[in-house]
């Protein structure tokens, strides 16, 4: 989230799209209810199904799964065509005026630089034009034909309301109503928030859908303000913390990145990540990359990380290829992996194409499952009848289950969607032989270390030289680890303005990342968390919910990264002179000497607005981007591409271009492309999702949850059901080109057939929560059906739009 849960109460318009907050985030949804009850907010829900969120919405608009970019592109077109944009905001705080290189092009759905063989782009032309001074060329009059504003306008002019209706199936009047509500927030005193979740991410174009949403918010001036923002609703605790701590295969903690195989040189690695300002007097905060990186290496390797060995740069693995989930499982399927550790992960259920996953696991020599529950993955080798029909005799994989504690049996910080690190305490002792994940990982580490010590190895240093400064080496405490990621001074840290002044004494906890240094005098295991455990103690454990300004800025409740800042980009809530656009909901303001207010300023605290520094300090240009430059795999402006399994089989925006039916830069392997189904055999669009009553594949192990939602079902519309001769409660078989499941049919008015390019398309809803383990009625794994296709940027699988057929059993 750019903002946070409580802040949603400040919104005037709430758009829930690509998510179902009432269903999947009922506790946070209270703030939507609050906005409606006490801020007269209008709630809009755009979803393929009339959801629980829609049940309390003012306006519901249906949409075909996977057509969100077309819809949002239509919104952009509407806003631009009707001048429903926050002019002062977009002119000053975005790249509207920047001129794009002449060789940049977009034709027939493809951007310049496409390599058809590799399914990827050479992105060098996706750049701003540079002036003689090295800075980006800007035309504040917006007259330049290649300025971002004009390119944007031209790009989305094609996304007319009629086109939206044709592609998305959203009735034109409803679509225009959505546009009008959103447009009402283009004024400085009104705010709209967008709440989204996996309904946007789990598409082959997921990242670009989210970008399109962000562009809508930028046009409306809704980023950085109270009640606004792009708010990703993180699915489970502690998924935000997982991302922050860099558990993605290509990340290091704090969104630092692992070097590639080609980056053997430390200097070049640092250079490429230390972004210089692209415009005069811009902050470009990533200029501090070396401080973050060196402090991380000091936290990991302590004295072994020195300036001489480039802070142990050689200890870091260098990525030779992708190690994302899909890539790894594909290699496992090909028999290239011997062993696999599943920690808090149930991939047999959670990854696409269960048949492929079963085959992949069957090729392992060993599989370690660390989990509080007996997961489906840990029993992938066992026959569970129709629900999982395998021959155990044919599978040689040795499965080792290591029972872990669950969240309530351990303490530590969980990071909420709003980036709050909230400390929690143990509620119960773990059962049986369960141990904490920390204890298990520490045990594995110590045994590995011993093996390297006694037997040596190819390159033992990264293991042997790691610091392990914990009181109980066999089980480091959560407090010690929290203090470590927050960071401390290893030597006295001097004030950069006056080297004689010591701002932090050696051994003290750091107050924040401003105190990080790149000379090895500081250590911080995750720079964005720096300051969460300062000399003042564990700030994550704070529980003071006082809200002095009344706009939900409870700064003494827990601790938010970065720097306890609650709303990111909050400088943008003020006009260029530093006055709040909306004084009634003032986050920060320039008081003549400094920035101050209800929030921690996301800006240089003493920077006079007259200097023209932009509010988007993480971007080297200081402003927000409509034109993504090379940051996205598919292109600088989001374009609608069909899901990989499309009911149309062509891209209605480019009907004659077969290369752009689906995303030209998505993650898909050849075998999986062959496993895709076509609309003639599988005519319905299916989408998977979660129900309030359950959490993923966990709570089917819990009696209470099983009582309130006991048995697997799929949802089909009344019209569809009538065609099939199915009544509510009948059993149906749902099949894709990869497999089939059987479930009870919930027949509902909440799913209506949509007219897409003139033909009716049915949507089938498939809740994911069932499997063959637990106390709920056994069911099929929904991902039996889903395709092994991923987003081109995040490699997140396309769980939200694929093709199936439904039959009566």
């Amino acid at each position: 989230m750019t903002n946070h849960w409580v802040d949603i109460k400040n919104a005037d318009v709430v758009l829930i799209m690509g998510g179902n907050a009432a269903e999947a985030h009922p506790c946070g949804f209270k703030w939507v209810v609050e906005a409606k009850a006490h801020n007269q907010a209008k709630l809009i829900v755009v979803d393929p199904r009339f959801t629980r969120s829609a049940s309390v919405a003012d306006l519901y608009c249906p949409i075909r799964p996977g057509s969100d970019i077309a819809f949002l592109g239509g919104v952009i077109n509407y806003l631009l065509a009707n001048e429903a944009i926050h002019r002062e905001y977009v002119t000053n705080y975005t790249d509207f005026s920047f001129v794009v290189r002449e060789d940049f092009a977009f034709k027939d759905g493809l951007y310049s630089g496409y390599d058809e063989a590799k399914h990827s782009y050479d992105k060098s032309s996706w750049e701003y034009e540079r002036g003689k001074d090295g800075y980006v060329v800007s035309d504040p009059t917006l007259a330049h034909p290649r300025c971002v504003y004009n390119l944007l306008k031209a790009h989305y002019a094609r996304y007319t309301p009629e086109m939206v209706e044709r592609v998305c199936g959203s009735p034109k009047d409803k679509f225009l109503e959505v546009c009008k509500h959103l447009a009402s927030t283009a004024t400085p005193t009104r705010a709209a928030t967008i709440m989204y979740a996996l309904g946007w991410t789990q598409h082959s174009t997921g990242s670009q859908i989210i970008r399109t949403g962000a562009m809508v918010q930028l046009l409306l001036g809704n980023i950085g303000i109270a009640g606004g923002g792009m708010n990703a609703l993180r699915g489970h605790s502690n998924i935000q913390g997982l991302t922050d701590l860099g558990l993605m295969a290509n990340l290091l903690p704090g969104y630092l990145t692992l070097p590639k195989d080609s980056e053997q040189d430390y200097g070049a690695y640092i250079e490429s990540r230390t972004q210089k300002p692209l415009r005069p007097n811009q902050m470009s905060y990533w200029q501090n990359y070396p401080r973050f990186h060196v402090s991380l290496m000091k936290a990991w390797y302590g004295a072994a990380a020195t300036a001489e060995n480039h802070w142990a740069y050689d200890f870091l693995p260098k990525l030779d290829k992708g190690y994302d989930m899909l890539a790894v499982f594909d290699r496992m399927f090909d028999g290239q992996l011997n062993g696999y550790f599943c920690q808090g992960f149930n991939p047999l259920a959670a990854a696409p194409n269960k048949a492929k996953m079963t085959a992949a696991f069957s090729k392992l020599k060993y599989l370690v499952v660390m989990d509080p529950l007996a997961t489906e993955t840990s029993e992938f080798w066992k026959n569970h009848g129709e629900f999982h029909d395998v021959d155990a005799a044919q599978i040689d994989t040795e499965v080792i289950r290591l029972p872990t504690t669950c969240f309530a049996e351990e303490e530590g910080a969980l990071v909420s969607s709003g980036r709050w690190l909230q400390w929690h305490w143990k509620g119960a002792e773990p059962p049986g032989e369960a141990r904490t994940d920390i204890a298990i990982i520490a045990g594995i580490y110590r045994r590995l270390r011993k093996l390297y010590e006694t037997e040596g190895g190819a390159y033992p240093d990264p293991i042997l030289k790691m610091t392990w400064p914990y009181a109980r080496a066999e089980e480091p405490s959560p407090e010690e680890i929290a203090r470590e990621y927050s960071g401390k001074a290893l030597a006295d840290v001097a004030d950069p303005k006056d080297p004689k002044v010591v701002v932090r004494k050696a051994g003290e906890q750091l107050a924040g990342f401003a105190e990080l240094r790149d000379d090895g005098s500081t250590a911080s295991g995750c720079w964005i968390f720096a300051g969460c455990w300062s000399e003042a103690g564990n700030l994550m454990a704070r529980r003071d919910n006082s809200d002095p300004t009344g706009i939900g800025q409870t700064r003494n409740w827990a601790w938010a990264w970065p720097a306890n800042r609650r709303v990111l980009y909050n400088r943008a809530s003020c006009d260029p002179a530093g006055k709040p656009f909306n004084p009634a909901r003032k986050l920060v303001a320039w008081n003549g000497k400094a920035w101050a207010g209800a929030d921690v300023p996301d800006f240089k605290a003493d920077e006079d607005p007259a200097g023209g520094m932009g509010p988007f300090i993480m971007n080297p240009e200081g402003v927000a981007r409509f034109f993504a430059r090379g940051a996205m795999a598919e292109g600088p402006f989001p374009e609608h591409y069909e899901p990989f399994e499309s009911p149309l089989g062509y891209n209605p925006l480019h009907p004659k271009e077969p290369r752009v039916v689906a995303s030209p830069a998505a993650r898909i392997f050849k075998k999986d492309r062959e496993a895709l189904g076509k609309a003639d055999a599988f005519p319905c669009v299916a989408t998977t999702y979660r129900l309030t009553e359950h959490f993923h594949y966990w709570t089917k192990h819990v009696r209470l949850n099983a009582i309130v939602q006991p048995e697997q079902f799929v949802e089909i519309g009344e019209v569809h059901a009538k065609e099939l001769g199915v009544r509510a409660g009948d059993r149906v078989k749902v099949s894709s080109n990869r497999g089939s499941i059987r479930a009870v049919a919930v027949v509902t008015k909440r799913i209506k057939p949509l007219t897409i390019e003139g033909k009716p398309v049915h949507t089938v809803g498939i809740p994911i929560h069932w499997g063959f383990k637990g106390v709920a009625k056994p069911g099929f794994i929904a991902n039996t059906l889903t395709p092994f296709v991923g987003d081109g940027n995040t490699q997140t699988p396309e769980f939200k739009a694929f093709l199936v057929k439904v039959e009566r059993v």
Binding site: F29, V33, Q40, R52, R703, N705, I707, P710, E711, V746
Partner: protein, 301 residues
């Protein structure tokens, strides 16, 4: 009752007055269920099961979101989902948390034959005291909302207590505590009526012209109230009664019939006795015997 917060004002099958000496200050409490804020998450159902240590069976899906499908002795509250296409052609998913309404004039209490099995506290809560319940099920027949359920385990009647144990010590009911959206609130009935009025203004501004409070007068008002978008059509909400009242049949059965019948029986017995005394026993005298003997002989020739 040692807890003043549980002072009883009405007791089933009891003809003498309840203790009244200290009944003065008790305020009426209530639960307000705002259907326009309810997302049907069923957190209230699980909170109810947890607090009251109830565990219903793991049932099955009947093609709807309703689970458990109905109230039981183990499910004192359930969410009922109904899909309604309004005259404008827009869909509404009306979700109602069902359970005991805690009527001011409770039909269950009226019907209950067992002294003290059903009580009404001074704060308005209608509670079942299962230790006095004899399992006759009259409360089921007496309830205008079809709420009480007889347990198969012990043959006793169960329903929502409005967490009288929590309320007695100043806590809100478990469902209220857990409701994530604030759709269920708890307080004095007066305060909640005021809150509801505010909600109704908001709903009317959003086009629900007939929004209103459900606090049916037919049962003397209830201590569980609903804010409805369509207060003119409560039946849309999975059959919420339009004008609930204690059935006239039950009123007759447990009302006038009782003294009348008892009186009539007593009267009959007394009349018989008095007649006996007045007229004297009807005896057969020797003359009758002789006459009979004569006739018998004649017959036998």
């Amino acid at each position: 009752m040692p807890l003043q917060s549980l002072d009883i004002v009405r007791r089933s099958a009891t003809t003498t007055p309840s203790p009244m000496a200290r009944a003065a200050a008790e305020v009426a409490v209530a639960k307000l269920i705002d259907t326009s804020k309810c997302i049907g998450c069923k957190a209230c159902q699980t909170a109810c099961m947890e607090w009251n240590d109830l565990r219903d069976e793991v049932g099955s899906c009947a093609g709807t979101y309703d689970n458990p499908r109905d109230l039981t002795d183990q499910s004192w509250t359930v969410m009922r989902f109904s899909e309604y296409e309004n005259p404008k052609g827009d869909l509404e998913w009306l979700i109602r948390k069902d359970g005991c309404m805690h009527c001011a004039d409770p039909g269950c209490l009226k019907a209950c034959p067992s002294p003290g099995a059903i009580v009404q506290y001074a704060n308005g809560i209608v509670d079942f005291h299962e230790e006095h319940c004899i399992g006759c099920g009259y409360c089921v027949a007496g309830c205008p909302f079809d709420v009480p359920r007889i347990s198969k385990k012990d043959g006793k009647a169960y329903k929502c207590t409005l967490c009288s144990d929590r309320v007695a010590v100043g806590l809100e009911p478990a469902c209220v505590k857990t409701c994530p959206t604030g759709a269920i609130t708890f307080g004095t009935k007066e305060q909640l009526q005021h809150d509801a009025a505010e909600r109704i203004v908001d709903l009317k501004s959003r086009g629900y012209e007939q929004a209103g409070l459900y606090d049916p007068a037919g049962v003397g008002g209830t201590h569980v109230m609903y804010v409805l978008h369509h207060a003119d059509q409560p039946a849309l909400y999975s059959g919420l009664p339009v004008a609930p009242r204690v059935s006239p049949v039950v009123r007759l059965w447990k009302g006038a019939a009782k003294p009348l019948a008892l009186g009539a029986i007593a009267l009959a017995a007394i009349a018989g006795l008095l007649n006996y005394v007045r007229v004297g026993a009807k005896e057969v005298d020797p003359a009758d015997e002789a006459a009979a003997e004569r006739e018998k002989e004649k017959a036998h020739g």
